[in-house]
């Protein structure tokens, strides 16, 4: 929509809070602010034209039930005082300084978008990818739609023992029929339909008792149409006594032990390997093999002394960091915006009016709902601080009059995008066919159809 045409002027005497990032933690922060006793107007600024963050661009297409959480976000968006500004990039379209001059408080909910690197020779040669890029690609993220992944290979290696690694392995291991009726991006479905991948290797540095797999997601490997999980725990005889039942890692180990005793009957295999440190990626012009060695710091935990895996694709999934922002304190060790309970802080002293929630606050862990408790904690501190914070000298309408925001997508605009995607998907037996370019998204938001 065109700025300034329909946004009502903010009521005087109310607090104004800007949230940067329209993913789960941003929505939950908005909810906590709007549910409070204080009179607060909340503006959510999202870099992309569409809301939901990693629920749209992270959650795997074959996990549709999880995406029903968006109904909660839509309910939050209907709360009085909520406004959504999609396709407004704070730091680019609007400076942080300009934004701060219009709001009592600013909450960063920008997540942890930067993939950690393995830092081994050969990382980055064609065929070597960051798992997060692949996830964004198959989920139709506009910034990643032009990425190329070559599935004309029989073996793929995934480095990491978390749930993103499981997602990548599962999407590679599934048949076209298992993906056909999901909301996977059309370009990804077409490419994966031609995949020759038969073996997927999931390789972790640590032992099988120290994974960060969610048991529920690991369990899905027992139920794939044409792929068996393969686990060899013979290097870990000391685990045979059985784990404690009270931890997720212990329950995951029990399931891995169950997998290790299953017969192998299907055509594709997902092989779980543990205790191996990545040493390098080799190949003449593209990935041909990956080399592993024992962990230096814990040689006894290593499964083998060394290993060379022939493969044509490598995905690293070893964690993510928040993207450093100029003027915002950053904790290099943890890869988060330095904070105390969600108040941004440098060397122990807080920066008034600046807050963080979600993965940028606590690192990339937890389920979607973990962000609710996380955002509630941050907002509790915002609410405590609000009466002491300076009255902002400017009004948010100034942002649209005086800056480079020429257009944005509001929540009704997102509703039109949503309807268009659902209609396009219906014709193909998919819950939705995502629009994958910013121009298409704007066209749908404006009520037209891109050509």
């Amino acid at each position: 929509m065109i700025p300034g045409t329909s946004s009502p002027r903010r009521a005087a005497g109310r607090y104004r809070v800007a949230i940067i990032g329209g993913g789960p933690s941003g929505f939950y922060a908005a909810e906590a602010l709007l549910r409070s006793e204080r009179s607060i107007d909340v503006d959510v600024f999202e870099r992309l034209p569409v809301p939901y963050g990693l629920v749209r661009f992270g959650v795997a297409p074959d996990h549709p039930k999880l995406k029903q959480v968006t109904r909660v976000f839509d309910r939050i968006a209907e709360m009085p005082g909520f406004r959504f500004f999609g396709a407004v990039d704070i730091g680019k379209d609007v400076s942080m300084t300009a934004l701060r001059s219009c709001y009592h408080a600013v909450v960063l909910a920008t997540g942890a978008p930067v993939s950690r690197l393995m830092d081994v020779p050969g990382e980055g040669i064609p065929g070597s990818h960051r798992a997060g890029d692949f996830v964004a690609w198959y989920n139709g993220h506009p910034d990643f739609r032009d990425r190329q992944f070559d599935f004309n290979t029989e073996r793929a290696v995934i480095i990491g023992n978390g749930n993103v690694a499981l997602d990548v392995a599962r999407i590679l291991a599934k048949t076209v029929d298992e993906l056909r009726h999901t909301d996977i991006a059309a370009h990804a479905f077409d490419a994966l339909a031609e995949s020759r991948i038969r073996h997927v290797y999931l390789v972790g540095r640590r032992g099988p008792e120290q994974t960060r797999f969610a048991v529920k997601e690991l369990q899905e490997f027992a139920e794939l149409a044409d792929c068996d999980p393969v686990v060899d725990l013979s290097h870990y005889p000391e685990l045979s006594s059985g784990p404690g039942p009270d931890s997720e890692a212990g329950a995951a180990l029990a399931l891995l032990q169950e997998f290790s005793m299953r017969p192998i009957a299907k055509r594709r295999r997902c092989v779980f390997l543990f205790g191996l440190a990545p040493l390098g990626i080799e190949g003449d012009g593209r990935v041909q093999r990956m080399l592993f060695g024992p962990l230096q710091e814990r040689p006894r935990a290593a499964a083998r002394t060394s290993l060379s895996l022939d493969c044509g694709l490598v995905f690293s999934s070893i964690g993510r960091r928040a993207a450093p922002i100029s003027g915002i304190p950053y904790d290099e060790t943890r890869g988060i915006h330095a904070n105390i309970g969600g108040r941004l802080a440098t060397s122990g002293s807080v920066l008034p009016g600046l807050y963080v929630c979600g993965w940028g606050k606590r690192g990339p862990q937890g389920t979607i709902g973990t962000n609710r408790a996380c955002s509630v904690e941050t907002v509790t501190n915002v609410l405590t601080d609000l009466p002491q914070l300076d009255e902002p000298p400017r009004h948010p309408d100034r942002l649209f009059a005086a800056t480079s925001i020429r257009r944005y997508v509001d929540y009704p605009g997102w509703g039109r995008i949503d309807a268009e995607e659902v209609a396009r998907g219906g014709a193909k037996g998919k819950p939705r066919e995502k629009l994958v370019t910013v121009e298409e998204l704007f066209a749908a938001a404006d009520g037209g159809v891109a050509c």
Partner: protein, 101 residues
């Protein structure tokens, strides 16, 4: 396949589950919490945070516990939603120590 709160919750009611539920599908009475199967999105986030392991996937319940699927459905319809963490019931920690022994 929703998740189900079982009788292990009775008398503890720690409500860690409530604080991590993304869809506020937990209901509560004086004794324990219940999951509304209509709203649960199967994220499973509540399972590992329960201090006494009271929450299970419906399809993984042992036969003697399957009645809790219906009890959750019925009690969720009869009781209010709880939106935030509450203090545990008196004696919860002692009870937990016995359960986890």
């Amino acid at each position: 396949m929703p998740y189900v709160v079982t009788d292990l919750c009775t008398g503890c009611r720690y409500t860690e589950c409530v604080s991590v539920c993304p869809v506020e599908c937990f209901h509560i009475d004086d004794a324990m919490t219940y999951i509304d199967p209509q709203n649960c999105i199967d994220c499973g986030g509540c399972v590992p945070v329960c201090p006494v392991g009271a929450i299970k996937a419906a399809h993984k319940l042992p036969p003697e516990k399957t009645e809790w699927i219906e009890i959750n459905r019925r009690r969720a319809a009869e009781t209010p939603v709880v939106t935030g963490k509450l203090p545990p019931l008196p004696g919860a920690d002692e009870r937990k120590a016995i359960i986890l022994r």
